[in-house]
């Protein structure tokens, strides 16, 4: 998805994991995913570049759809659909 498409998404849950390092963001994402329904979109905010690669891997494993990442100044917004 392009940055415009990602920005236009309706996000049902935002997880701010910018205060944690690996494996913190993954843990935060795992905890939060249970709070949304199948088909809904979640964004994970992380200052950790590793998370940008980790979340898509986690999505593949769990069968979620990784939608894309927006690079903000100093952190990443990672989007996925449950």
């Amino acid at each position: 998805m392009t940055t415009e498409e990602l920005t236009a998404l309706t996000v049902s849950k935002s997880v701010d994991a910018r205060g944690t390092s690996c494996p913190g963001p993954l843990l935060a994402a795992k905890k939060a995913i249970g709070q949304i329904e199948t088909g809904q979109v979640m964004e994970v905010l992380s200052a950790d570049e590793g998370t940008r690669r980790d979340i898509p891997k986690w999505c593949t494993k769990k069968g979620y759809e990784y939608l894309g990442t927006i690079e903000e100044s100093g952190f990443y917004k990672i989007f996925l659909r449950k």
């Binding site: 205060g19 944690t20 390092s21 690996c22 494996p23 913190g24 993954l26 843990l27 994402a29 795992k30 986690w58 494993k61 769990k62």
Partner: protein
């Protein structure tokens, strides 16, 4: 005609058997070392795997068992050799040393400060998280006996057990990932 169907069924049965014998989504890790850095790496992998819903089984053996001691718990009735081992080995995860750059504890203190500053979870926190995520810890009974450790001096951990090598091998045999640290 019927023969080919039979052959097909046989081939399918074989395939089903193969699939059933596939390894589980499980991580088995032998934790042997009691170096702080190695334990930290092991716990990050364990917690990361648990976060990915992989079942995790940690097998603590030899020196690593000292990382699971509770420094506030006292034991009675140890013989002299056990007392000696007990006194020379770390009492729990907070007393572990770095494998490199420990410098009488200065290096360790520095790393701990940096970790805190960078919001990296401490080994103590990771162990608690591991417990919350259902990570199983099994302690090698033979090593316990060898080092003279007692069960009553081990930490309170939700999924703590004691076992022998066969339990580890059985678990590892059905795990898709096996590591030795």
């Amino acid at each position: 005609m019927s023969e080919t169907v039979d052959e097909k069924i046989k081939a399918l049965e074989k395939k089903v058997e193969q699939l059933q014998n596939q390894r589980k989504d499980q991580l088995s890790m032998v934790i042997f070392s009691n170096d702080l850095d190695r334990i930290l790496a092991a716990l990050v992998i364990a917690v990361g795997a648990a976060a990915m819903d992989t079942e995790v089984k940690l097998f603590f053996t030899f020196w690593a068992i000292s990382a699971l001691r509770d420094k506030n718990k006292k034991t009675k009735g140890k013989d002299m050799k056990s007392k000696m081992f007990g006194a020379m080995l770390p009492r729990g995860i907070s007393q572990l040393k770095l494998s490199k750059m420990n410098m009488e504890g200065m290096g360790k203190d520095m790393i701990k400060r940096i970790m805190k500053h960078k919001n990296i979870a401490s080994p103590e926190e990771l162990l608690t998280t591991a417990g919350e995520l259902g990570v199983q810890i099994d302690i090698c009974e033979m090593s316990m006996d060898l080092m003279g450790f007692k069960k009553e001096e081990m930490i309170d951990y939700p999924n703590l057990g004691y076992c022998g090598v066969a339990t580890f091998l059985a678990d590892a045999g059905e795990s898709s990932i096996q590591l030795f640290i």
